[in-house]
Amino acid sequence: MSSVKILLVDDEIPFVETMTKRLIKRNFDVLTAFSGNEAIKQLQEHMSVEVVLLDVKMPGMGGIETLGEIKKLYPILEIIMLTGHATVESAIEGMKLGAFDYLMKPCDINQLVSKVEEAVTKKRMHEDKIIEARVKEITSKRA
C-alpha cells in the first residue's frame, strides 16, 4: 500500500502532535487541523487526503457537523470518528452521515492503524469502481 495521506482533526494540540508523530513513524502522511473549519481548509488545499480522523467533541464547529460538511464536499473521503464517549446515538448519527467507523479515545494505536488501512482500502476500491465506471462510460460512448 502506498503512503496514505491522513488528516487528523482534534482541538487537543498535544494529542494531535503526539498522534502525528506516531502515525508518521508508521509511514503515514499526516496533515493536522485543530478545528472543523481548519480541517475543511486543509482538505481544499490538499486534495490527496484519503482518510480523515475526526474528533467528535470540539469547540466551534463540532465533529458531527464537520463530518456532514466534509461528506458534502468530498463524498469519497473515508472518515473515522474519534470519540471520548461511545454513545450509541452519536455513533449511529455518525454512521448515518457516512462515517466509516468510530474509535474510543484513548485508542490503541494498532487498532487505529488497522482501521485506517481498512478505510483506505474501501476508499480506493470506490475510486477504482468510479474510474472503471467512467472508463466504461467513455468506451461505450465511443462504440
Binding site: F15, T18, A86, P106
Partner: protein
Amino acid sequence: MNIETKHALYYSLLTRKLIVLVIAVSFTPMILVISIILSQFHNSYHEKVNAHLGELVMKHKQNIDSFLQEKLNDIHFMVNSFSFEELSNEVFLQDKLAALQYDYQHVFVDLGVINEHGRQIAYAGPYKLEDVRYSNAKWFKKAIENQYYISNVFLGFRGYPHFIITVRKKIGEIYWILRSTIDFGAFNSLVQNLSVGKTGFAFIINKEGKLQTKSVLDFHPDKKFYSYFLQNKKKADDGIAIVEKDDKSSGRKYIYVTALLKNKWLLIFRQETSDAFADLNRTQRIAIIIFLLGGLGIIATTFFVSKMMVSRIARADNEKDLMNQQVIETGKLASIGELAAGIAHEINNPVAIMVEEAGWIQDLLEEEDLKESENLDEFNRALKQINTQGKRCKEITHKLLSFARKTDSIENDVQINELIEDVISLLEQRAKYDNIAIIANLANDIPMMRMSSTELQQVFLNLINNALDAMDKNGGIINISTRYLAGNIIIDIADDGPGIPEVNLAKIFDPFFTTKPVGKGTGLGLSICYGIVNKSGGKIEAKSLVEKGTTFTITIPVIKKQDK
C-alpha cells in the same frame, strides 16, 4: 430513644387523641339529649302522676265528706222532724233505725237518745245499751258542747271499733242529743276503695294521729305524722298536698297525698314512689340500657376505626418517607451524574494524551540505538503500566458517562427471560470456575416489554457479576426468578453469599460506593442499574442478611407512562 419507638409513641398518641375526640364528640350530644329528655319526661310524668293521685284523693275526700255530711244530715233531719218525746219511745226509734238501714244498707248501726246528763234514754240497735251513762265519755263532753259532732273511732262499751255522729237539740233550757253509730266496715270500705298499684293505699288519721280506718300493711303513724302534714305548706288550692318523704325504718321512699276532711280528719294516700313511678323507672332503665349499649358500640367502633385510621396514616407516612427517600436518591444520583459526566469529559482528553505520549515513547524505544539500553525492560514495563492505567481511567470515565447519560438508548421489544438467559450464558463459564451454580426460575407468562435491551442487559450483568464477586471462590447458588404480577415484571436475583452489612445497605446505590479493593470496583455498577431501572419507571431494592445472602428485586411496569 430511637426513631421507631418515637414513631410508635407518636402514633399511639394520635390514636388516643382520635379516640378521645370521637368519643367526646359522640357522647356529649347523646348524654345531653338523653338527660334532657329524661328530665323532661321525669317532670311531666311526675306532674301527671301527681295530678292523677291528687284527683283521686280529691274525689275520695269529697266522697267521704259527703258521706259524713249525708249521715249527719239524716240525723239532723230526724232531730228536727221528730220531738224528743217521740224519739224517746224505743219502738219509734227502732222504726226510724229500720227505715234508715233500709235506705243505707246498715250504715247506721244504732240510734240513741241521750239527755244532757249523759244518760241514754232510748236506744235502738243490736247492743243492750239502754240506760247506759255516757257522762264520762270523752265524746259526750264534746257532743253536748257542739251542735254537730263526729267522734273519733273508739271501742266504747261494746268493745268494737266504731264512731258516732251526734246532733244536739234544745228543748227549753235543756239539751238532748241524738246519736248514731256508723258502721265501721261501711266507712272503711270508702277509704279502702282508694288503692293504686301494688303499694298505694289510703287511710284516715285524726288529730292525735290515730288511725281512723283499718290499718293496712302494719302502718302505725303517730301524732307527729299528722302535724307534719298539717304544717306542710305545699298545699294546692283544693286542699290537696303532695309530699315525697323517706321512711327511715324501711329505707323506702313514699309519695303522700293528703286531704283534710271537714271534720279535721286527714285522708292520707300513701304509695311507694318506685311503684307510683314504675313506668317512668322502667323507661329510665331502658334508656340507660340503650345508652350503655350504644356507648359500648361507639367506644368499640371508635377504637377500631381509630386504630385502623392511624395504621393507615402510618402506612401512608411510611410510603411518603420511602418516596421522599427515593426522590432524594434520584436527585442525588442525577446531580452526581451530571458532575461526573463533566469530569469524565475533562479527564478523558488528558488521559488520552498521556496514553498517546506513552505510546510515542514506546514507538521510540523500538529504534536501534535505544534497544541497547540496559533499562529497556523497565521502560517497557513502565509504559505498559501507563497504558493499563490509562485504559482503567478510560473505563471509569466511560462508565461515568453511561451512568450520567439520559437518553442514549433505543428501546425495542424485549423478552426479559431471553435476555436473562443470554446474560447467564455469558457468565456461566466464570461461575463454573468459582463453583457457583446459577439457577434460573423463569415464569412462562412474562410479556414482552419496551425497553433498551442493552441497558437491561447491563443491569443483569452488573447484578449477577456483583453476586459472583461477593461469593468469591467459596461457591454457592445464584437464584434468578421472574414473575409477572399486576402489570409489573418482578425479577429477583438472590445469592447465598456473605450478605451486605446494614450500614452499607443504604449506600449501595450511591455512586462511587464500593467495598471492593482499590482498582477492582468503580462503585458505579449499582448506580447505573438504579439509574436504568428508575428511568424505566421501575424500582430496584436490595434485601440482605449477613451470612445468609442478598436479594435484589427489580420491579418494572410493563406499560410505561407516555411522558418520554
